[in-house]
């Protein structure tokens, strides 16, 4: 090969490299963004919370030493959870609510989109979680949440906070 030929080959290789890099850049810029709009997730969490808390379930209540303390039929999940936070704070064990919480967990699990996880938490403002539905669920580090703070139902100074967390499974 002539000396000019080697130069031409070097130029060609340089051109090929430059255009390969340019092609990669073009394709990389054309890729759709991976992250969804955070507002969509928050709006969805709010919808799930409202739908779950407004739902009425008959036969909710908790076990007592004397038997079963039933709430009136037509009680909303929200009212039941507010009462549960209050009772748990006053010393009623979590096990007393296990059956009713399982029913709430079942409704919540069917309410969310297929492939999504959901958890409900309740606590006194400034305190630890007193209610967690489903029991023992591990909420991932990243989730979309919606909550509401309620005045105490017995006039005590501590407000109650109920919240719902939703996340795609596996978490993105």
């Amino acid at each position: 090969m002539r000396e000019d030929g080697f130069e031409a080959l070097a130029d060609g290789t340089l051109l090929l490299t430059a255009l390969l890099v340019a092609s990669g850049v073009v394709l990389a810029l054309a890729r759709p963004p991976l992250a969804a709009d955070p507002a969509d997730g928050l709006r969805y969490a709010e919808d799930v919370r409202l739908a779950l808390f407004r739902t009425t379930i008959d036969g909710l209540g908790h076990r007592t030493a004397e038997g079963f303390a039933a709430m009136p039929n037509g009680t909303t999940v929200e009212t039941f959870l507010r009462a549960q936070v209050h009772l748990r704070a006053s010393g009623v064990p979590a096990a007393a609510f296990r059956d009713a919480n399982a029913r709430v967990a079942d409704v919540a699990a069917r309410l969310v989109r297929p492939g999504w996880g959901v958890a409900v938490t309740g606590r006194l403002v400034g305190g630890d979680d007193l209610v967690q539905i489903p029991e023992g669920v591990a909420i991932p580090a990243t989730y979309d949440g919606s909550g509401w703070t309620y005045p105490s139902i017995d006039g005590s100074p501590a407000d109650a906070r109920l919240a719902v967390a939703v996340w795609p499974t596996p978490p993105r």
Partner: protein, 151 residues
């Protein structure tokens, strides 16, 4: 002085230059082909993304319009069960922007389902789902799903 029958290789400078030019031309053609193919691919990807976003926006808009419409809801996400009785796909055509659609309301307590719109058999489609309630004597949990088709 070569005698008769002597065969020696002869270098033709013009031929060698042509071969070198051919190699360079081949590399250049290959490089530009890859580049323009990637440009075309990027354009197609962008168009597909934009079309998907438009369809997803249409599905979201249909879903929002349905769960907020005062004709069959009592506030956001509170769907009146009796309001669904007289509802037809025609009532939702405007919210679907004229695209083929299918909207389903699923009562999670009773298992009843209401479906509006026939959808389409082919084409791209996007789905939006949210949680809501069906309100009558009781308030049942419900899942509402809107699917929109487009070219």
């Amino acid at each position: 002085m070569p005698g008769p029958g002597d065969r020696r290789p002869v270098r033709d400078d013009g031929g060698a230059a042509a071969l070198d030019d051919m190699a360079l031309l081949a590399v250049a053609v290959l490089a530009f082909s890859l580049f323009f193919a990637s440009l075309a691919g990027a354009h197609v990807m962008r168009e597909q993304t934009a079309r998907g976003e438009r369809l997803q926006g249409a599905a979201d808009a249909l879903l929002r319009a349905f769960v907020d419409d005062p004709r069959w809801t009592a506030g956001h996400g509170r769907i009146l069960r009796e309001g669904l009785v007289g509802l037809s796909a025609t009532d939702l055509l405007g919210a679907a922007s004229g695209r083929p659609f299918r909207l389903t309301v699923w009562d999670l307590a009773t298992g009843e389902r209401w479906a509006f719109g026939d959808g389409a058999t082919g084409g791209d489609r996007r789905t939006a789902t949210t949680a809501a309630n069906l309100v009558s004597a009781s308030v049942d949990p419900a899942r509402v799903t809107a699917t929109v088709w487009g070219p």
